[in-house]
Symmetry: C2
Subunit: 735 residues, 2 copies
C-alpha cells in the first residue's frame, strides 16, 4: 500500500481551512438501534480490538442477549451496563465475540454482573472514543483503541475501587476461558469464542489477551463460578454453586465463568488506565502487540493517534453542500465501512491459518471477517475505489486462505469458515477487483481457486449444490440446498464474474462456458407470474407458489432471506436480459414500481437493494431512479441510533448509502461500470491514488430530475460510466 | 541426604544370596478394598506422578465415585475401567486428584467414558508396575513411573487404535482443564484439582502435564463436552449438549469436560508407549521433568530403574523367619510408607509455595501431603529411624511452609492447607525428630514456629480454639471447635512436645509452662465414668453423656472421629499420669481390657491405635500386650485387598503394622522411647546410617509370652528402650 503523503498534508490544510474535520461528522450511535448491530465503542480503522459498552445482559434491559437472536454487545434502548467488551463484531447478523469484559466498580468486589451492573448517563461517542458515567459508582469511563489494544481510562471517586476483567460474560454462546494474574497490575489469559450463526462449533477457538493497569492494585484475585455439583457429595460441598474468590491467586484459573479483580483504596479521586491487548495467536503475541503498539503511552496519546488515523481514512472523500445530518450519515457510513474486514494478524505478522492448525505469517496485513454474500455486491467495489491498497490486501488474504484450506472463503471469521449464507461470492469480489484495475495479486492462482469452486461437484463447501446446478442449470427444491432459486442466482452471478475474468485473461473457452452458465437462472423464470420461482428436479414448477413467502427473514421454499419479489431482479449481471424476458422496459418498470409501491422492497437486506438503480437501465426512467434513491435515503438513513435500515452487514449497508449519496452505483459485480444519478451533496471530492482528485458537482437537488451530465466539461450521453473513466476524470457535473 | 553405598552393594549381594528380593513381597492390591484407599498403580518411591487404573466411574461398578465419600481412583471390587490417572493420592480419606486419565481403545474414537470403558482381566501389580488386559479391546496395558513421569505401554491388536487423554473425568470434585496438542505425538495442558475434604475450594489449583507418544498418530484432535445451553438460542444450536470433536485442532481448548485423542491404523499388533510428565509449577517444568527424568528411554528402562529404587528403599529392613504372607504384609506396608509425603518439587527444584502465589526453589526436595493428625503418632518416628535423610527433608519442607505462609502445616496438600482434622501436629513431628537426633534443620526457627502455633490466640489457623484452651486448659462444648475433648488432648500432646524440645534447648521456663499445659486434659477427666468427657464453659459436665457416641466416624459432641472409649487413653504423653488418675494399674488394665473385649477398640483410626502397647506400662501385663498386638495383626492385616483395617492414612496404618511386626513401638511422640514386645519374624536386620546394622532376633512365637530380652547380649530389665540406644545397639534378642 502506498503511503499517501498527500493526505497527511491535506489533513493539515483541512484543519486550517475547515471548521470541522471529517471525524467530527462520525456518530457511532448510528446503527445501535433497529438491529443495525453496530456499536458505539472505540475502535481504530479496521481494528482487531475495540472497546464497546456491553449492555445486553441483565438488569431491566429491553433486549437481553440470551432471549433472542441478538448479535450486538450494545443496544441503544438498553439501560444496564455490565462492562466493556474488547473484541466485537460490527453490523453482523449473529452473536459472537463480545468478550473480555472490563468493568470499573467501587466498594466491595462483586463478581456477578447482575449485581455489579449499573445504569448510566452522559454517553459520548466519537470515532475512536466513547465515554459514559456509571450511575451506581460515580465513575467516568472513557475508552479508546489502537489497532490491537483497547485502552480505557476510569476516573474513580475517593474510596474503594475495583477493576474487573470478566471472562464469563460474553455475547458469543461459546464458553470457556483461562486467566493468570502476573502481578498487581497485569492479567493474561484467553477466552473461547466461535460457532458464529450457530454453525461449526467444532472450530470454536481462543482469543488471547494481556491486560495491564497504569497503577498497581492494592489487592487482586481471581474468581470462579463453578457449575452446580449434582452428585451425592454436594451435601458436603457447602460452597456448591457459589462463587469462589481466589484472593492473591497467581496460577492459571480455567472455567466457563471466571474473572480477575484488581482493587484499590483511593485517598482522592484517581484515574487508572487499563490497556487490554488481544491476539488470536498467543498470549505472547498479545503482549508484543501491547508493547509495540501502545507501550507506555497514555490514553490521550492513543486517542489522538487513532483520531488522526480516522481523519486520514475519512478524508478520502470530502463532501460539501449537504446538511450536517447528511454529512454525518455519510461520514459515519464511511466509518462503518472501515471496521470490517479487519486486521487479524499481530504486529509481528503472525495469525492463525484457516483449517491447518498452523500459525502463518504475513508481510502485510491478514484481514478477516469476510461476510461475502453481503459485501460482494458493493462493498468491495467501494474499497477498490477508495482504498485500493486495502482491497488488494483483502484479496491476498482470501488467496492465502485458499492456499491454507484449499477453498476461497465464503463467510470467514477469524480463520474459521462459518459456512453462513449461500453462493460463491469470493470469486465475484476478486474478479471485480481485477477488472477494476487491481493487479497486485496472483490472478492465475485466483482464477484456479475460482474454477475449483465453480467446477467441483462433490464435497464442494462453497457450492454444495454444484452437481445439480452444473447438470440442470438450476437447483431443484429437492436439492437439499436452502433457497434453491436464490442460490441458483448466486451461482449465476459467480459464473458471470468468472466469465468476465476469463475474458480479460484471454481464456475464451472458459468465458463462453461460464457466461452461458451465468444465464441459467432463466430456467426458473415463470412468464406467467413474471417471477423466478422454485422448480422441481423433474422440471415442474413447485406448488403451491406464494411470491410473498420469505419476507422478513422467514423461511420459505425458494429463497434465502427474501421472497420472489426481492429476488426477481437480483440478476445484476443480466439486467438487459431480464428486461427482454419481461417483454421489454415497460413491463419491467411496471413490476419494479409494483414492488416498491406494494412494500415488497426490503431496504434491510441485500438481495433487492440494487433495485432503485435499475430504473436507469430503461431509457426515460431516470427520474424514478432519482426519486426512489432519494426517498430511500431519507426514509431509512438518518443521524440517529435507528439510522440504518437493519444489520449494517459489515459495511454493506453503509457502502450503499455512501454510493447513493455520491451519485453513482456499481450495479453489476464484475462489470466495472457505474450508473449515475444526482448526489446528495453539491460537491464531492474524491482523493484517489497518485494525488488524483475527482470532483463531482451537482447543481440539482437530490431526488429531482437530472437533465444532463458533463464529464470533464463534455456532455455525457448516457447514465453509465466505466470505473476506469470515473477514476481518470477530474470533473463530473450534474445538472 | 547421604548416599548409602552400602545398600547398593548389599542389594547386589542380596540378589545373589536370596531367592526373592524385597520388591517381590510387595502386593499393591493390599488396601484396595475395605476403604484402604490405596491403589495398585505404578509409582516410584515418593513419586509425584503415579499411574493408577481408574475404575470408579460408570459401568456396573459397585462403588461409584460420585455416589458416596469415595477417596480412591481404584476399588478392587469394581469391574469397569475408564483409564489410568496420573496424579493420585494413596490411603487418604477424601477424594482429590485422580486426574489426567489416559485410555487406550480400538475402533472409532469414543469420548464418553461410559461408552469407551471396559471390563478387564489378568491384573498384575508390583512395586512400580501394573498391567491389565482390557476385555473390550484386546489391549494389554502396562504402566510404570519415574518420580514425575508416568510411563505406559499399550499393546494394540491390528487395526484402528486410539489413545485418549481425558481431562474431564477425575476423582477430584474440582472442574476445569486446558489442553493444547503440539504435534501428532504430543499434548500439553493442565487440570484443576483441590478442595480436598470439601474444604478451601478457593485454593483449587492446577496440575500441569506434557504427554508424549512413542509413535506419531495418524490423526489427532481434541474434544469438548460443553454444558447444555439453556437460553432461547438453544433452539438454533443443533449441537447443544453434544460432544464436539475438534479434529486436527492445535490451539488451546478449555472446559470442564475436554480431552485429546490420537488415532492409529496398525497393520499388525503394535506397542505404543505413552509418557505423561507432571508438574505443579508449569507446562515448561513438566516438559523438563520428562526430558531430564525419562528422555528417550523405554518403558523397560524406566521400570527397571524404579524397581531398583524400590528394592533399595525396602532393603532398609530385612526380615527372615516369617511366612510369605507376613513378609508381604510387612514389605507392602513399607512400600505404602514410601508413597506420602511425596516429592512436590520439579527436577529443577521449583515448586509452588504455599499461600504466597510465588514459585519457590529448593536445593533438595520439597515434600507434600502432610496428613499430620495421622502421621505424628508413629509414621514420622519410623521415617526418622529408617530414612532419616528423608525425614530431615520433610522437616525442612515444613519449615519452608512456615517461611511462606507464617504457619506450620496441619494437613498440607500440594501447597494448599486443607485445614482438615484438628490439633497442632507439626510441632510434635519436629520436636520428636529433634529428640531422636535429627539436627540438619534450623531448630530455633522450628521452635519459633511452634511457639507461634501454641501461643497466638486470635486467628490461629492451627489452633482455632487456642484462646479458651490457654485460658481454661480445655475447650468447652460452646467453643465452636469440633471435638472439644479430643482437640484439648491434641493441644496437650503438642504442648508436651514443645516442652520436651524446650528442655532439650535449655529453655527451662518454656519447658515448665508447656509441660504444665500438656497436663490440662485432666480437667476433662470424670472420675465417675473413668472417661474424658465434654465440659461446658462454666465447668459443668455436658449432659447427656453417651460414651459410645462417636464410633464409626459418626458426629458427636466431644470427639473427632471417635468416642470416649477411643479417646480416654489418647494421652500418650502422660500414660503414667492417667494410670494414677484411674487409681492405679489394675483399674487401668481393667478398663483397657473392657475396651478391647466390648469391641470399642477401633483399629481403623488413629486415636486409640496405641492402646495395645499400653499394657507394657503396667508391670506384669506384657503378656496381654503380646497377645493383643498379635491378635490385631492377624485380624486386620493380611495379604489381600481388604488387608488394611481402613484408610492407610498416608502410611500411618502401615507404620503401625511395620512397628508391630518388628517388636517395638514409639508410644509417646516427642519422647524418644520405644516399648518392646516380640516381633512377627525370627530375625529382622535394620540397615541404618553409616553402615550400622541392628539385628532383632526372636526365639518365641509372636503373641506368646515374652520371658526376657537381651540387648547386645545383656539382659534388659524393662520393656522400654530409648531411640538412641536402639539405633546404637547391634543385637536385640527376645526369649
Amino acid at each position: 500500500m502506498k503511503i499517501r503523503f498527500f493526505f497527511v498534508l491535506s489533513l493539515f490544510s483541512l484543519q486550517i481551512l475547515l471548521s470541522q474535520e471529517p471525524v467530527e461528522f462520525v456518530n457511532p450511535f448510528i446503527g445501535t438501534s433497529n438491529y443495525g448491530a453496530t456499536n458505539p465503542g472505540a475502535i481504530a480503522p479496521r481494528g482487531m480490538a475495540s472497546v464497546s459498552p456491553f449492555n445486553v445482559a441483565g438488569g431491566t434491559n429491553k433486549l437481553e442477549k440470551d432471549s433472542q437472536w441478538l448479535s450486538n454487545p450494545y443496544v441503544h434502548e438498553n439501560v444496564f451496563l455490565t462492562g466493556f467488551s474488547h473484541v466485537n463484531l460490527s453490523g453482523v447478523g449473529c452473536p459472537d465475540l463480545g468478550v473480555i469484559l472490563a468493568m470499573p466498580t467501587t466498594g466491595d468486589v462483586e463478581t456477578n454482573h447482575e449485581t455489579y451492573g449499573t445504569t448510566y448517563k452522559n454517553e459520548t461517542a466519537k470515532a475512536g472514543y466513547y465515554a459514559v458515567e456509571l450511575d451506581k459508582y460515580q465513575i467516568k469511563a472513557e475508552v479508546t483503541a489502537s489497532t490491537r489494544v483497547g485502552v480505557s481510562r476510569y476516573t474513580f471517586p475517593k474510596g474503594k475501587a475495583n477493576i474487573l476483567i470478566n471472562l464469563g460474560l460474553g455475547l458469543t454462546n461459546e464458553q470457556g476461558g483461562m486467566l493468570k494474574i502476573n502481578s498487581p497490575s497485569e492479567v493474561e489469559g484467553m477466552r473461547t469464542v466461535g460457532s458464529f450463526c450457530y454453525n461449526n462449533p467444532e472450530a470454536s477457538y481462543p482469543v488471547y489477551f494481556v491486560a495491564q493497569l497504569s497503577k498497581p492494585s492494592k489487592e487482586f484475585g481471581a474468581w470462579k463460578n463453578p457449575y452446580n455439583y449434582e452428585g451425592v457429595e454436594a451435601q458436603w460441598m457447602t460452597y456448591n454453586d457459589k462463587v469462589r474468590i481466589k484472593k492473591g491467586f497467581t496460577r492459571e484459573v480455567v472455567g466457563d465463568s471466571i474473572g480477575a479483580y484488581f482493587s484499590y483504596d483511593f485517598q482522592q479521586p484517581t484515574e487508572v488506565e487499563l490497556k487490554v491487548a488481544v491476539s488470536y495467536v498467543s498470549i505472547e503475541n498479545a503482549r508484543e502487540n501491547l508493547q509495540k503498539e501502545v507501550g507506555n503511552r497514555s490514553f490521550n496519546d492513543i486517542y489522538e493517534e487513532t483520531r488522526d488515523a480516522w481523519n486520514e481514512k475519512l478524508s478520502v472523500a470530502e463532501v460539501e453542500g449537504g446538511s450536517a445530518e447528511d454529512k454525518t450519515v455519510f461520514y459515519t457510513a464511511l466509518y462503518h465501512a472501515q471496521i470490517h474486514p479487519n486486521i487479524f494478524s499481530d504486529v509481528n505478522g503472525e495469525y492463525p491459518e484457516i483449517a491447518t492448525g498452523k500459525i502463518g505469517k504475513t508481510e502485510g496485513s491478514r484481514y478477516t471477517v469476510f461476510s461475502l454474500w453481503d459485501t460482494y455486491r458493493n462493498y468491495h467495489q467501494l474499497m477498490t475505489l477508495l482504498y485500493p491498497g486495502e482491497q488488494t490486501e483483502m484479496i491476498n488474504s482470501m488467496l492465502a486462505m485458499y492456499d491454507e484450506n484449499g477453498w476461497l472463503p465464503k463467510w470467514e471469521l477469524n480463520s474459521t469458515e462459518t459456512f453462513t449464507m449461500v453462493g460463491d461470492p469470493a470469486s465475484v469480489v476478486i474478479a471485480d477487483s481485477y477488472l477494476r484495475g487491481l493487479r497486485n495479486f496472483d490472478v492465475e492462482k485466483a482464477y484456479e481457486a475460482m474454477l475449483k469452486g465453480a467446477t467441483v461437484t462433490e464435497n464442494n463447501p462453497l457450492r454444495p449444490g454444484n452437481a445439480e446446478y452444473v447438470e440442470k442449470g438450476y437447483l431443484s427444491v429437492e436439492s437439499g440446498i436452502a433457497g434453491p432459486v436464490s442460490t441458483t442466482q448466486e451461482y449465476n452471478i459467480s459464473d458471470f464474474a468468472i466469465a468476465q475474468l476469463a475474458k480479460a485473461l484471454g481464456k475464451k473457452e472458459d468465458y463462453k462456458k461460464f457466461y452461458k452458465r451465468s444465464q441459467s437462472y432463466r430456467k426458473l423464470y415463470d412468464s406467467e407470474t413474471g417471477l423466478l420461482r422454485p422448480k422441481k428436479a423433474n422440471g415442474d414448477w413447485y406448488e403451491p407458489f406464494d411470491p410473498n413467502a420469505g419476507a422478513n427473514f422467514t423461511k420459505n421454499v425458494g429463497y434465502i432471506e427474501g421472497n420472489a419479489w426481492q429476488y426477481v431482479y437480483m440478476v445484476p449481471h443480466d439486467i438487459r436480459g431480464i428486461i427482454k424476458l419481461k417483454g421489454g422496459g415497460e413491463n419491467f418498470i411496471q413490476q419494479l414500481d409494483y414492488i416498491f409501491d406494494a412494500g415488497h422492497y426490503d431496504m434491510a437486506n441485500e438481495p433487492d437493494f440494487g433495485y432503485p438503480f435499475l430504473y436507469n437501465f430503461v431509457t426515460g426512467e431516470n427520474d424514478k431512479a432519482q426519486k426512489r434513491i432519494n426517498d430511500l435515503l431519507d426514509r431509512y438513513y438518518s443521524n440517529a441510533p435507528a439510522g440504518l435500515p437493519g444489520n449494517d452487514d459489515t459495511g454493506t449497508m453503509s457502502a450503499w448509502v455512501i454510493y447513493a449519496m455520491m451519485g453513482f452505483y456499481p450495479v453489476t459485480p464484475a462489470d466495472p461500470v457505474y450508473t449515475l444519478f444526482a448526489p446528495k451533496f453539491n460537491k464531492i471530492t474524491l482523493h484517489l491514488e497518485d494525488n488524483h482528485e475527482v470532483i463531482i458537482k451537482s447543481f440539482i437537488k437530490a431526488g429531482e430530475p437530472l437533465k444532463y451530465i458533463l464529464i470533464d466539461g463534455k456532455k455525457h450521453e448516457n447514465l453509465f460510466i466505466s470505473h476506469s473513466k470515473l477514476i481518470g476524470t477530474s470533473s463530473i457535473e450534474m445538472y
